[in-house]
Symmetry: C2
Subunit: 203 residues, 2 copies
């Protein structure tokens, strides 16, 4: 088994943190996305949709999509239960993982992808108007997330979950997207300090 | 328990089909999204992110996000296993559900949301350039999906899954987005005929 990985991109980071929280070691191959290795280079055969990360098994079976790879590890190593426990717990984690992905991470990514010169060849067309509308949407989400975090320790409740991993990777990608977290979002900043302090954050 | 639903929108349809496949009846309340009931009307209190569907419990607990609601039903009624079985089966269903959502449904939705006059007040700003780039992306996905479906019956394998539900809702929303499926994508059309013929498709 090996993971096609990229230290430059935020989604592969989710798939490094997740197994680290479970104590699983995954052999990784670094793919140079700037050199387009995943699109028309050595790793292209493994990424039919041009997306990283990809988990490849020795028999050639491949799983793409960060959360799909996380679910594979989760099925084999259920504890700690990073996708939640009990019907309502599972639903809350899925809800917050999706909200953080679609209402936050997506806008942070668009603010970067649709403006940065390094993305000119990868994101065609770059749409300046989309980037401009993405930054206020990311901040509007953070404002709501700040109110949520006033009442609980982690993104989806009192236990750390995959939603925290998605949130952390999105938050740290704001630096690349040139979006600053306003200092008045004190609950978000406390949460970010907590999840960043875990050993998995450096995975 | 009640489901805040909309017959006009594609995501709530996913949450009607899913329990129908499991034989679960869910009491629903129709929300008039054109009249903005979910944003500043009678249902606004239940939708902090302005998104439908929302599942509300008698104690006031609410779950938003279509797939989160599906996972709640799945945890209580595991059969048939619409999120896959076994570590690799679960990963394949998650992968294809996400690919269909992010690389297909998203583009179909953007083609509609960023052009249609009815969305002028709900999607601000409407970005014509984004809509224009969305249609070819949706069709590029369908071309790859057609090749995949040459080798299997359903989206994620030989069993029907939540990925088929996402795909069906996205495919049928192409009509609203004014995107036609090219007749040469015969595997996609065969698959669409199969999933449309199931009783759940009318839920």
């Amino acid at each position: 088994m090996k993971l096609y990985d990229s230290r430059r991109a935020p989604n592969p980071r989710r798939v490094r943190i997740f197994p680290a929280e479970k104590g699983i070691a995954v052999p990784a191959v670094e793919v140079d996305i700037i050199a387009r290795e995943h699109l028309d280079g050595a790793a292209a055969y493994a990424t039919p949709f041009g997306l990283l990360p990809v988990l490849e098994f020795d028999d050639g079976t491949r799983i793409s999509e960060s959360i799909a790879i996380c679910r594979y590890f989760d099925a084999l190593h259920p504890q700690p239960a990073l996708f939640g426990e009990g019907a309502l717990g599972v639903a809350h984690v899925e809800m917050w993982n999706r909200l953080l992905e679609h209402e936050y991470f997506r806008h942070v990514a668009n603010a970067f992808r649709h403006t940065h010169p390094a993305m000119k060849e990868l994101e065609k067309p770059q749409i300046a108007e989309l980037a401009a509308s993405s930054k206020p949407r990311a901040l509007a989400f953070l404002e709501k997330f700040d109110r949520e975090l006033a009442g609980r320790k982690f993104a989806a409740g009192d236990s750390y979950s995959v939603a925290d991993i998605t949130g952390l990777c999105a938050f740290d990608f704001m630096k690349v997207a040139r979006i600053a977290c306003p200092p008045e979002f004190s609950n978000v900043l406390r949460w970010h300090g907590d999840v960043s302090a875990r050993p998995s954050a450096t995975a």
